[in-house]
Symmetry: C2
Subunit: 373 residues, 2 copies
């Protein structure tokens, strides 16, 4: 967080409401932010959900995470040594809060101070070669010496090699499931070794078994936490390339380790280099790029509003809602265009979009694009 | 050659004079050009050499290649199937004549039409790995299919693999010694296989055994002939990296094949990629860059003047010469600065520099810099 922006600190009640809101149906990080900023707080947003869904044309009332469920999750997490940190709070990772879809709450376990270190992600193929593992170790050691914490995904192969080479200095394992659902299961021991000096971090609820689609979602946190992402060995169309793409979208540096054109495990990294990723063969190549960036002050993130009183709500007129909905289709359109074409106020457009979203009828894409589902 | 510039054609007598001039002591390609443009032809320049050397303060008259020596070289070359092509003539390679220090005459043998094809150089380590050879074959085949002739240096390893993979379609072997001094000797057979559809080219005299310093000099011809240079496997500080540097200086494209950071034979190529060379793993990567360039018209090279009558010579006054020499030192200085600081005409400065050069006292560097030896 840049100087001048004081960290917020939620009360236990507020944290409970934040958890209820983000765990409620049809509420993702972007919607959470829109809701809380519009209604002035999580409690007011939760109370507004049924009305929003009704006006948005939802067929059923969205499932709201109950107070009891939230209390149970917090208590069970506490027993595991897991606590929830809200965006804007002092322990929330600095860079992560700058991404567009930063999770409002992250569940963290371990040595939280690691999250305050400058971080670099190292990811790569699960089916790593001995050479790939060796290169990962070398680069990790060099980055550790330069003062970086290492972020990765706890997967087999390159990820595990990166974590193992930074156990003592601090490494961050970002999980695709809940804190009690380590994947792959055989890396539970590795995670235990990580925690004394490092952190396990996830946005997913306790008990959540990671599904295939949770991994790309998780990958945005790996890149989001980091100044840059290093890809060591990656085949074509591998998950590491998704992380590289997300890193670019987030304005993070992308580094790739070159390899022989005859090695299929280098196809992805060579392809990244052809597309402009920085080629790296040693840690010094990475440090040379990141050192100058580390010093830069981050732009301040507008803090979420969290007041106990709800501010006055906007209720769009029926004809305004009709006009806006008629402009939407399954083809993504920009919110700016919607405002212009509907000739209504930005505030009204945003409210109608929120209603549709809570009703489960709207999809949000990157770049402020929205479409009907 | 661009449209509008008609190729020249030397008479046998002129060709003999060109050979005598370029083979005379202290006359390199740049001096040759200055001399012939100043004196209006090679014959007049040869006649002027003793006077120039004397005025330039030479301790002895420079050795002038005699008419008899030149006739013997031409006759012996003819018997080997070698002929001399002058810069500006129809058979002189198009791109080579655009480099600053293009040889005034090249000795060529084989199928001269190959020199009219668009050319790409492929070079690399002599101590090539099996993988390096395989990659060279793949890339060469792809370039051959796209219509390129392949230029290389007839060395062991990557060079030989590139020649072998383009024997039938046309390949150019650029020699560091005379046409009768093939290096390495065991590649005499390979050269025989090259000649039916390809060319051996050199600027060095018949009988010249290549010395270590002739290879970098030769390398400028490899890059100069080509639209781009592909480096496959190169250790740190290898000759291929010299070729890459020369290619950059000549405005040629530089391509490098990436390799594992653990492979010492990839250190040079990975280093080039880090410095901005285009990473390539297949021929299509190269073709994509070169296709758009191939169509571009080359700027016309100012043709050498070759008139039988000498134009009036400039003879600098003694005080002008003293003034110019006093501005020179072993530290390179630009000719423009010399003209400005000496307050004499460009024509006079150039003549004094020629005198010093022929006297063996001046060294020319790139970028129009000169220094006293």
């Amino acid at each position: 967080m840049s100087e001048g922006t004081e960290p917020i600190r939620l009360t236990d009640e507020q944290r409970l409401d934040w958890l209820r809101l983000i765990r409620s149906q049809n509420v993702g990080p972007r919607t959470f932010r829109a809701l809380i900023n519009h209604f002035g707080g999580a409690r007011a947003a939760i109370e507004a959900l049924p009305g929003l869904a009704r006006r948005g044309g939802g067929s059923a009332t969205p499932q709201i995470y109950s107070r009891e469920e939230a209390l149970r999750e917090i208590e069970a997490s506490r027993k595991l040594g897991v606590r929830f940190v809200a965006v804007g709070e002092a322990d929330y990772p600095l860079r992560l809060q700058m991404i567009d879809d930063a999770p409002p709450l992250v569940a963290i376990r371990g040595h939280a101070a690691t999250l305050a270190m400058p971080q670099v992600a190292i990811v790569g193929s699960r089916n790593a070669s001995a050479a790939g593992v060796k290169i990962t170790q070398r680069i990790t050691h060099g980055l550790v010496e330069a003062g970086f914490a290492i972020v990765s995904g706890l997967a087999r192969g390159i990820d595990a090699a990166a974590h193992r080479a930074s156990l003592r200095t601090g490494t961050v394992a970002v999980l695709a499931g809940g804190q009690d659902r380590v994947y792959p299961p055989e890396h539970a021991d590795l995670l235990d070794e990580i925690l004394p000096a490092g952190v396990a971090l996830t946005e997913m609820p306790l008990g959540w078994e990671p599904r295939a689609r949770d991994f790309p979602r998780r990958n945005r946190l790996i890149s989001g936490l980091s100044l840059g992402v290093v890809i060591v060995e990656a085949a074509k169309r591998s998950g590491s390339l998704i992380t590289a793409r997300l890193a670019l979208e987030q304005g993070r540096e992308v580094f790739a380790v070159p390899g022989s054109p005859l090695d299929p495990r280098a196809e992805g990294t060579n392809g990244l280099i052809k597309q402009g990723a920085t080629p790296v063969t040693e840690a010094a190549d990475i440090v040379a790029v990141l050192r100058p960036i580390m010093g830069l002050e981050l732009p301040a993130r507008e803090p979420e509003r969290e007041e106990l009183e709800s501010t006055a709500s906007v209720e769009p007129a029926a004809d305004e809602r009709t006009r806006i909905v008629s402009l939407l289709s399954p083809t993504p359109v920009s919110i700016d265009d919607l405002i212009r074409l509907s000739q209504t106020s930005p505030r009204v457009v945003r409210m109608v979009l929120l209603e549709l979203e809570i009703a489960g009828r709207l999809e949000r894409h990157g770049g402020s694009l929205v479409s009907l589902m």
